[in-house]
Symmetry: C2
Subunit: 329 residues, 2 copies
Amino acid sequence: MVATIREVAKEAGVSVATVSRVMNGSGYAHEDTKKVVMAAVEKLNYKPNEVARSLYNRKSKLVGLILPDITNPFFPEMARGVEDYLQQFGYRLIFGNSDEKREKEIEYIDTFLQNNVVGMIASTSEEANENFDNLEIPVVLLDRTGEKLPAVYSDQKTGGRLAARVLLDRGSTNIVLIRGPVEIKPVYERYMAALEELTQAKVNVQVMDSSLTLQGGQICARQLFEQYPNTDGIIACNDIVAAAALQEILKRGIRIPEDIQLIGYDDIAFTQLLHPPLSTIRQPAYEMGAQAAEMLIRKINQEKIAETHKKLPVSFVERQTTRRKVEKP
Amino acid sequence: MVATIREVAKEAGVSVATVSRVMNGSGYAHEDTKKVVMAAVEKLNYKPNEVARSLYNRKSKLVGLILPDITNPFFPEMARGVEDYLQQFGYRLIFGNSDEKREKEIEYIDTFLQNNVVGMIASTSEEANENFDNLEIPVVLLDRTGEKLPAVYSDQKTGGRLAARVLLDRGSTNIVLIRGPVEIKPVYERYMAALEELTQAKVNVQVMDSSLTLQGGQICARQLFEQYPNTDGIIACNDIVAAAALQEILKRGIRIPEDIQLIGYDDIAFTQLLHPPLSTIRQPAYEMGAQAAEMLIRKINQEKIAETHKKLPVSFVERQTTRRKVEKP
DNA sequence: TAATATTGTGTAACCGTTTACATAAATCTT
DNA sequence: AAGATTTATGTAAACGGTTACACAATATTA
């Protein structure tokens, strides 16, 4: 059904080596021969088998991508950033969701390797990093960082501090800080930075735990007002949890941002559709993905890379769950 | 760096054939030999190269997945359904976003084929279907359907009709029906079904166009109230557009659902977080993905398949952008 | 114990490419 | 016109697995 290089060679009346050479533009080939070969290629609709190529070259046109959970709207943005960038260079993505689970991460790393990927981009836990050791292919960490591996991530510390500053500057004094899972490094970092900032401000601060999911957020939000009814500021670990909190706030008839301020993290798309639209700390997800892809391609092409650790800036997106800042005269 | 079967064979003092046999549990192998081989495998941390396997077998453990846009929250659900199911059987996903563009679809189909995928799952336009002709590997359509190919999709007609019925039964009489891009079959079908139902009801109906994105929805929503200020019901082509409409409604201070009813389509996650929570028609996205994966595996294993066209039911998710139904005594 | 069946193992061909090397043809030097 | 270059092409050996086939060793049977 699918034509092989031998059939093309036969059709064109040349050897397979010649076909290979004209296909790849490598080595010599007479103009006339090129035409004959291309005609045969055309006629048989020949497309070189990537698997055979990959076997010989010991590298494919495949890039492995491991993300925690594509169902969390933060990651699709990143994935598209990666894909859109790689796609232009003919690379394809093998993709896996890890759910932040070590076994899954390892399983995907292994199978990606078995498929001769040229490189990998991964948001994996720090402990999984050792699985990247002694690989002869480049790996770039995304939304994570580490000593040895190049990485593209965002400035969680500034993000966390910023979130805290916002509530502080706008007058919250009884703040609940919702901490996400501590195993997830970036989430932990933003939490720590916010906590530090709040602590320094000598304001009343309570810490609560939540998963990064909607269900987790809802459970947390419900408890929050039972335990700390006079809260006047909430810093959520991500936008999803913030959205859950917002819903609870509304349900209880608390005025926002007058009685309570709320700030999320990520700036995922639907955040602006909430009512009131959610103030949040923006991470440039798409850009992060694209830059990771760019760095990976650089590595693949053995180019020198100026900075192997790219920390992208975050920014405060002011919407309507925080008050206007009072200007000090 | 990475051990090959030859190195394992040498280490174990046997031939490559023997190693292959014990790895695959095919043919005979003496118990003692097995032990020796497995020890060597262990020692060298040998993992068979899938590429070489794939070349010989002419099929890999890779499945191609083409989705329109992973950035639209409807699709990640589906993708996870596919992945979670396939993952158990050791299949991996090569993934591509098509943006509903014919060239991209074809490009991905071609490169997937070049990588010896065992099968493909695709949400592609009808015109791309011919590219699936004469393939020796199974393909299942997802969220789309067609004559020749097996497919898993949802009942768009019932969905469209249901959406219309809901607004009708709850008393809307000046309804705007937002039609999505007509090239996208499922979107068109739900539109047509709704239109039919509305027309029959002899109610006042206006049609507007929108893309499936937030930006498109916002533009559409703005125009909507300028052109049809006394609208009292909106059927959106999907939840994203519905969310945009909801925002416009709120901005204009129109009461919902008292003055206007709104219904979306898909039931993507954040829909319940809107304020008020959005009534919508639910498509079982995850389930659809999982079932497509199941069907594909059946096909790969050459099992008989009872129904090659699985139409999954949709349902009305009643939330707070539609009124309570008035019971007729 | 010889004949036969079963089990265990190795050799080499194959999957579809790329490329080192050999050799032939064309072109350039002097 | 002979020799040196350059260009053009083919042959065969990789790449890392799987498996048909041959053959040897062991177990079973009569």
